[in-house]
């Protein structure tokens, strides 16, 4: 269950070790379940429009956003996509006041990952009236790629007291089988059944150089490897009351995960003040727990004019309702919250150039409670699409986000993340 120890917890650990522990830091500690939230985004068209797709999806990504939109697809489609993410994490002094006590140096770490992200097939069935469409595919839904590096310096000596790093990689893919049909000329419904599968690999390392106060030199390494598997279903509808307006909605049923956990621990300390050789400990452990995500609801609206489409979506999830066998539900209720995630996007078509340009913006709030969240996750998105020879589309999107944790009152420290994502999708319609 323990997924990531943020900066504040590292402070806590260090202060425990230096016997400088202050009671107020107990409030800083939180536990993070990585699979809560952390949606990466699927499809270059969608992510160029800020992910606002519930009412306007028109390709295989409808499997992810609103299966009812599959009913709009009239040709057999094969599609695939790749993503590239560049994440930069900065930790250190917040900048308002120079602390007189030991403080964190400004450090940064960059993590880059290029990944295969989606493969889908859409199969419209010939109909005499209405629409009946099936689709299947796999899409990378959640990304756990993250990095963290922090150095704690004693200004009185100028020496490094703690060097901590966290490297996390992995993600969860969703294998989907879905279908959609028209209930009337203006109403479509759809459903998907999803199998979720993925891994989360976390390595936490701490190093305390030879320290006269402690009298020890310390290495510690924690390695978590969690394998996720689960299933759920999603229902969606789409209504087009007139040629300008589309309205959609989805219900994401709870995902029931089984998580197999492998944990290994290594600790080595060297006594620098006595001939005592120090202490070494190493062990591994296996565990398993069940986790059920809560319901998620989404609604979207799209306004389509001659060359321009505007779209907006909103999602609601109450992460405090997570639960499961082997999970401390009390801890979850104390540390998680309900979240509204919203997306805005626009698309402008230049038909004579067979080109579409897109822009969007979305807010994906962090699902856990923390008083140190200075700026929540906000994404600015841009994209372009090209229609080639009436059978092929190439879409590209770029997303940029920034969010930050900050303690301006006691430690004057910050933990900030900036992320750049590139999405490329290619679709061929027979």
């Amino acid at each position: 269950m323990l997924r990531r120890i943020p900066l504040y917890v590292i402070i806590l650990i260090f202060l425990f070790m230096t016997e400088g522990f202050c009671q107020e830091f107990t409030d800083y500690q939180y536990w993070e379940e990585t699979s809560a939230g952390n949606n990466f985004g699927v499809g270059a068209r969608a992510m160029g429009m800020g992910g606002a797709q519930i009412a306007t999806a028109n390709d295989a990504s409808a499997l992810v956003y609103n299966p009812a939109c599959l009913a709009k697809i009239k040709r057999i489609e094969f599609s695939g996509g790749m993503t590239h993410q560049r994440l930069k994490n900065e930790t250190g002094f917040a900048g308002r006041f120079q602390p007189s006590n030991p403080y964190f140096a400004n450090e940064s770490i960059i993590q880059s990952n290029t990944r295969f992200s989606s493969a889908n097939i859409v199969l419209p069935v010939p109909t005499y009236r209405g629409s009946l469409v099936f689709a299947l595919g796999v899409n990378r839904m959640k990304s756990f790629d993250r990095a963290f590096h922090s150095v704690y310096i004693d200004p009185s000596t100028g020496t490094t007291d703690l060097d901590a790093s966290i490297l996390e990689t992995g993600g969860i893919n969703m294998w989907s089988l879905g279908g959609a049909m028209d209930l009337s000329p203006s109403i479509s419904v759809g459903a998907t059944f999803n199998y979720w599968d993925g891994e989360d690999d976390i390595i936490q390392e701490y190093y305390i150089p030879p320290n006269d106060k402690l009298g020890y030199e310390v290495w510690e390494k924690n390695h978590y490897l969690d394998s996720y598997s689960g299933w759920n279903a999603k229902l969606g509808f789409l209504v087009q009351p007139n040629r300008f307006l589309s309205v959609g909605g989805i219900i994401d049923f709870p995902t029931k995960y089984t998580i197999d956990q492998e944990y290994s621990f290594y600790y080595d300390s060297l006594n620098i003040t006595s001939p005592d050789p120090g202490y070494t400990e190493e062990y591994t452990a296996l565990g398993e727990y069940d986790l059920t995500h809560p319901y998620s609801f989404g609604a979207g609206v799209a306004l389509a004019f001659k060359y321009v489409t505007f779209a907006g979506d909103i999602y609601y999830s109450d992460w405090a309702q997570m639960g499961g066998k082997g999970v401390d539900e009390k801890l979850i209720k104390e540390n998680y919250q309900e979240v509204f995630r919203w997306h805005l996007g626009a698309e402008f078509v230049m038909p004579e150039l067979s080109t579409t340009v897109r822009a969007g913006y979305y807010v994906d709030p962090i699902p856990f409670k923390t008083v140190y969240l200075e700026k929540d996750r906000r994404y600015l998105t841009f994209g372009a699409g090209f229609l080639i020879d009436q059978v092929l589309t190439l879409d590209i999107a770029w997303n940029h986000s920034f969010y930050e944790f900050r303690d301006d009152w006691s430690q004057f420290i910050k933990e900030s993340y900036s992320t750049d994502k590139i999405f490329v999708s290619l679709a061929y319609r027979l």
Binding site: R129, G130, V189, F244, Q390
Partner: protein, 172 residues
């Protein structure tokens, strides 16, 4: 408890859809006393107007959706997004008993978004109903060639439909 309610309502909606019937149908409903009749139309669904006088005011079989006018000016958009793949068989091939004419293939494909019953340079031919065990001696092709293009039905209704926005205004 709340989860059970959501699940129950969802199941009721799904059940209702299946038991109430559906707008989407895969093929034309079976009509009594017409099982033996063979329809030989030159264009897709042109026979429909025989029984459905309101065919042109209701989107039987045709993509019912709203799409922008530029799909007509730049047919590649319409071809990619709204033109059903199974219509390719009717436009350019002779599968399914529909007669293809070589010299019209390219033109038909280029104008691929056009609904088959829209009148225009290609024209719409009235349906030809071949009675079973008919004494008429005719080939399908021969029958079609006898059709008088000037006697096309539903031109007026088609114009009305274009005004309603169900079918984009065609460029000529």
């Amino acid at each position: 408890m709340r989860n059970r309610w959501v699940l129950m309502v969802t199941l009721l909606v799904i059940t209702g859809i299946f038991f109430a019937g559906c707008y989407t149908i895969m093929s034309h409903p079976r009509v009594e006393d017409e099982e033996g009749i063979t329809y030989q139309g030159r264009d897709y669904r042109e026979n429909c107007t025989t029984c459905h006088a309101d065919y042109h005011s209701y989107p039987y079989g045709y993509y019912y959706g709203y799409y922008p006018d530029y799909y007509w000016d730049y047919p590649r958009w319409g071809h990619y997004y709204v033109y059903p793949w199974w219509w390719d068989w009717y436009w350019s091939g002779d599968e399914g008993g529909v007669i293809g004419i070589e010299d019209q293939k390219i033109e038909k494909e280029r104008r691929s978004l056009e609904p088959p019953y829209v009148t225009g340079t290609r024209g719409v031919f009235p349906p030809v109903l071949i009675e079973p065990k008919s004494s008429r001696e005719t080939t399908t092709k021969g029958t079609i060639e006898k059709v008088d293009k000037e006697k096309q039905p539903e031109q007026k209704k088609e114009e009305t439909k274009e005004k309603e926005g169900k079918i984009p205004q065609k460029k000529r």
